[in-house]
C-alpha cells in the first residue's frame, strides 16, 4: 500500500468530481491505477486516449508508482 496525490483536469476532473485527492492504493503502476479509477468512477476515456504523468513529467503506463508520487492522467489535449 502506498499513498499518492492525484490531480485531475478537464473531462477527468468533471467525471471524478474533484480536482485533487490523496489516495492509498495497491496499484503497482500508473496504468493499473488508471484502470481501477476508471472502473470506480466510470471514466469514459480508455487508456489509448489518456497519458500518465508522474511528478510533473510524462510517464509510460508501466511506470511504477511510489509513495508520495503526484499522479496526473492527461485526457486528449486541445490547446490553441
Amino acid at each position: 500500500m502506498k499513498t499518492v496525490q492525484l490531480q485531475y483536469f478537464a473531462l477527468l476532473r468533471d467525471q471524478r468530481g474533484v480536482a485533487t485527492e490523496s489516495l492509498t492504493t495497491t496499484a503497482a503502476t500508473a496504468g493499473e491505477l488508471y484502470e481501477r479509477l476508471r472502473e470506480q468512477h466510470g471514466f469514459t476515456l480508455g487508456p489509448a486516449h489518456v497519458r500518465a504523468a508522474l511528478n510533473g513529467e510524462f510517464a509510460p503506463w508501466d511506470a511504477p508508482l511510489r509513495a508520495g508520487d503526484t499522479v496526473v492522467f492527461i485526457p486528449p489535449v486541445a490547446g490553441g
Partner: protein, 148 residues
C-alpha cells in the same frame, strides 16, 4: 519563452518584446476564439492547463524549433481561463534572418503545441450545453485536434 497567462494577451506588446535588429523576418500566429465549431454556435471557451507540465512541454517544443531551424528567437504564450469570441487564445512569434525558417518554425510550434501541451478547452454553446474538445472522439492521443 513559453508562458501561460490568465490575463488577456496583447499581441502588440508581445511582438514588440521579441523584435531583434538581426531579424530580417518576423512571423507570428494568433489563434482566436471562433464563433462556431462543427456546426454549433460557440459563445465562449474555457481553457485549463496542467501548468507545471504545460510549461515544460512548451519549452521543449520551442527548443526543438530552435534546433531544427535557423532562428534568432521563438516565443509562445497561451491563455487560460474563460475567453469570449475573438479573444486571443494563443500567440506564437518567431524571428529569423530569413522568412523561410520563420514561416516553417511558426507552423511547427503551433502544430506541436496543439497536440502535445497539456491544455484543454471547453466550448460553451448557444444552446446552453458545454463540452471538452477531443474527449468524446476515438483515435490516437496524438492524432487529434489537427484543425483550428
Amino acid at each position: 519563452m513559453f508562458r501561460l497567462s490568465r490575463e488577456p494577451l496583447d499581441p502588440v506588446a508581445l511582438r514588440q518584446s521579441r523584435l531583434d535588429p538581426r531579424g530580417g523576418a518576423f512571423v507570428s500566429f494568433e489563434g482566436r476564439v471562433r464563433d462556431q465549431n462543427e456546426g454549433r454556435r460557440v459563445l465562449a471557451l474555457e481553457y485549463e492547463a496542467y501548468g507545471e507540465l504545460a510549461e515544460k512541454e512548451g519549452a521543449r517544443i520551442l527548443a526543438e524549433a530552435r534546433a531544427k531551424f535557423t532562428l534568432l528567437d521563438v516565443a509562445c504564450a497561451h491563455r487560460t481561463g474563460r475567453l469570449g469570441l475573438g479573444e486571443l487564445a494563443v500567440w506564437v512569434g518567431v524571428t529569423a534572418a530569413h522568412r523561410d525558417a520563420a514561416f516553417t518554425a511558426c507552423r511547427y510550434i503551433i502544430d506541436e503545441c496543439k497536440v502535445r501541451v497539456p491544455v484543454w478547452k471547453k466550448e460553451h454553446y448557444s444552446d446552453g450545453a458545454s463540452e471538452w474538445l477531443n474527449s468524446a472522439v476515438c483515435g490516437d492521443h496524438t492524432g487529434l485536434a489537427k484543425d483550428g
